[in-house]
């Protein structure tokens, strides 16, 4: 029986389906079917046979890093929260869909709600938390419905709630609807939003693992990370590390979109080359020019780098990209890099929460400078200013999203600087996609006279 998922979700064939295995076939509403395929095995083992320290050691041995963007080692977060003083601790699952392009968390919540729930309970038991909150974007109605049903079923089967499976572990799980925003991808902003405050980040430290929701130690993970936790608990650390690289074991849900034949969600081993990811989506519809990797704060990789760059935390970071939300956007030869950078930067500027001045005003200034360049009316130092201001924004950033905001522009400036110069000096779009050619006659003489060549 095929299970219906939201129409936005397409799961690609191929890859290394671990979390995605059986999704779309396995009925998420049937706890019996879920348990028959190994569901809640990890939870049972974790709370009846192992101490919390052993569970943390297993996750540590697996080398699991957060799949939500920052890639922080999961076991370190848990140790910090476990050793933090206080009786009350909370685990929060982030299902706010911060990056609108990324499909991973939503797909897991709709197709395998029990896996996310199991991971949340294992995490809560490991850090000594008696509450788990699944914070779901409020327009993901199907995900909310299925998670709520999963929680109710699990409670009825004594897999969640009070004294789980006859042990002294109690984890009260609730599903909360949250208002989605890009900044909710930042854990301190999410915590604010959950408290009913305006969703804005805080200076860290203290980290949420010490002082989080209502001031109590809080562990925030995205749904995918928690699903991996459940998988590791149900299998083993050694098995988890069979896929992926030594520094970045395991798999990652990747959304491949843009100029590809068959866009959608896939699960791949970390360390797979970016080229292969594009292959999973049926290849490019034209000639690949660049791939923007990591969501709205993506780093652009040029076509000739894609084959040699491994999709993991280290190699991708060195190349200028980052795993981020797990989205890979492919652009073809007909796409202007300046306009694309402007678009992504504008998203960050519009989604800026407003708390950090360099972000609120700086990103807006960057967009304006790019608009001037696109209109072939740059100020003499605009190209220099783009870099300097970007560095200042990154250096003074309050949150990670802010420090990443200028990255699409910086990485394209490095790789496709000729497109920026052609737009600025001659009003010509080298990709042929911008209609700024009309301003060319006016500005060409000035540019030729050297008036605009100050950079």
């Amino acid at each position: 029986m095929a299970v219906e998922l939201s129409p936005q979700i397409r799961i690609l064939p191929g890859g290394e389906p671990r979390l995605l295995k059986g999704i779309g076939d396995l009925d998420p509403g049937s706890l019996a079917a879920v348990r028959k395929t190994g569901g809640y095995k990890g939870l049972t083992r974790s709370i009846t046979k192992r101490s919390p320290e052993e569970v943390i050691a297993e996750v540590s041995a697996a080398g699991l890093r957060g799949r939500g963007g920052a890639g922080f080692p999961v076991a370190d977060k848990w140790r910090a929260a476990r050793s933090a003083p206080g009786d009350r601790k909370i685990v929060v699952a982030n299902l706010m869909g911060a990056d609108p392009t990324s499909l991973g968390d939503r797909t897991l919540a709709e197709g395998k709600p029990h896996l996310v729930l199991e991971g949340a309970i294992i995490a809560a038991a490991a850090v000594g938390a008696s509450e788990a909150i699944l914070a779901v974007r409020r327009d993901w109605t199907l995900a909310i419905e299925r998670l709520k049903a999963a929680v109710a079923d699990a409670e009825a089967a004594n897999l969640a709630g009070y004294l789980i499976l006859g042990t002294d572990v109690s984890v009260n799980v609730s599903v909360w609807e949250g208002s989605g925003a890009y900044v909710a991808g930042e854990e301190t902003a999410l915590i604010h939003a959950l408290q009913g405050d305006r969703g804005m980040p805080l200076i860290r430290p203290p980290y949420p693992a010490e002082r989080g929701l209502w001031g109590v130690p809080t562990v925030v993970h995205n749904a995918e990370t928690l699903a991996h936790v459940a998988w590791i608990a149900g299998h083993s650390a050694a098995e988890f590390a069979k896929l992926g690289t030594r520094d970045a074991p395991g798999t990652k849900l990747v959304t491949i979109a843009g100029a590809v034949r068959n866009p959608g969600l896939s699960e791949v081993a970390l360390g797979t080359s970016v080229d292969k990811l594009i292959g999973l989506a049926g290849g490019s519809t034209g000639t690949v020019k660049a791939a923007f990797i990591g969501g709205p704060g993506a780093g652009a990789l040029a076509a000739d780098e894609l084959g040699g760059t491994a999709y993991d935390y280290g190699a991708l970071g060195e190349a200028g990209g980052h795993i981020g939300s797990g989205s890979v956007l492919v652009t073809d030869a007909g796409t202007c890099m300046v306009a694309t950078a402007r678009f992504l930067l504008d998203f960050s500027a519009r989604e800026a929460c407003g708390k950090a001045v360099p972000c609120r005003i700086g990103t807006r200034r960057l967009v304006e400078a790019l608009d001037r360049i696109l209109a072939a009316t740059p100020r003499p130092n605009d190209l220099v200013m783009l870099r300097e201001l970007s560095m200042k924004i990154a250096d003074t950033a309050l949150c990670r999203l802010e420090s990443l905001a200028p990255r699409p522009m910086l990485t394209t400036l490095d790789r496709f600087g000729d497109e920026y110069r052609a737009h600025a000096e001659r009003g010509v779009c080298l990709a042929g996609s911008c209609s700024t050619d009309a301003v060319l006659p006016l500005l060409a003489p000035l540019a030729e006279a050297g008036g605009l060549r100050a950079w």
Partner: protein, 171 residues
């Protein structure tokens, strides 16, 4: 376009109060309350937000801030709400051409409503449709991947189903 008449429309304060009481008046239930108000009115009317602020004794700035950053509508949407996805995947797939075509077809810019109140056009990055880009959401239905002609056709179909004059703006 802001329609002052609808902006000032009456809000059932007793209903808002019962809603708040149903959540025990806890500040963390703000989003759920906003969701219920928007489900009833189609947006968050200012009088309702004022009432929430008073009743829950949460400062107006915090109520308005939480609503503003939470992806809620603060202005009424008249008629069919046409949302063109503005996420990166949709843009790369030609979403900007779809938006231009719909702006031309409806004779309004994004963020405005037609004079007869039959359509409101907006953009939002969260139609959540990277795999079916470019996508358009009309009211609650998501369509994609669309060509420019198909997008226009979605408007024709709704015009045919509902004569424009039947939804005159409140005066």
């Amino acid at each position: 376009m802001r329609n002052d008449a609808r902006w000032q429309e009456g809000v059932d304060e007793a209903w808002v109060d019962s809603l708040i009481d149903g959540y025990g008046g806890r500040p963390e239930s703000l989003v759920a309350i906003f969701g219920a108000v928007q489900a009833r009115y189609g947006y968050l009317p200012e009088p309702a937000l004022r009432r929430i602020s008073d009743r829950m004794t949460i400062h107006w700035a915090q109520v308005f801030g939480a609503a503003g950053l939470g992806g809620f509508r603060l202005l009424p949407a008249e008629g069919h709400l046409v949302t063109v996805c503005s996420c990166a995947a949709c843009r790369f797939a030609g979403g900007d051409r779809i938006l231009a075509a719909l702006e031309e077809e409806l004779g309004i810019r994004a963020g405005e409503s037609t004079d007869d109140g039959s359509f409101t056009l907006e953009t939002d990055a969260n139609v959540g449709a990277g795999a079916i880009a470019p996508a358009v959401r009309i009211d609650t239905l998501v369509y994609g991947p669309l060509t420019v002609d198909e997008a226009r056709h979605l408007i024709y179909a709704r015009r045919a189903a509902q004569p424009a004059a039947s939804r005159a703006p409140a005066s």
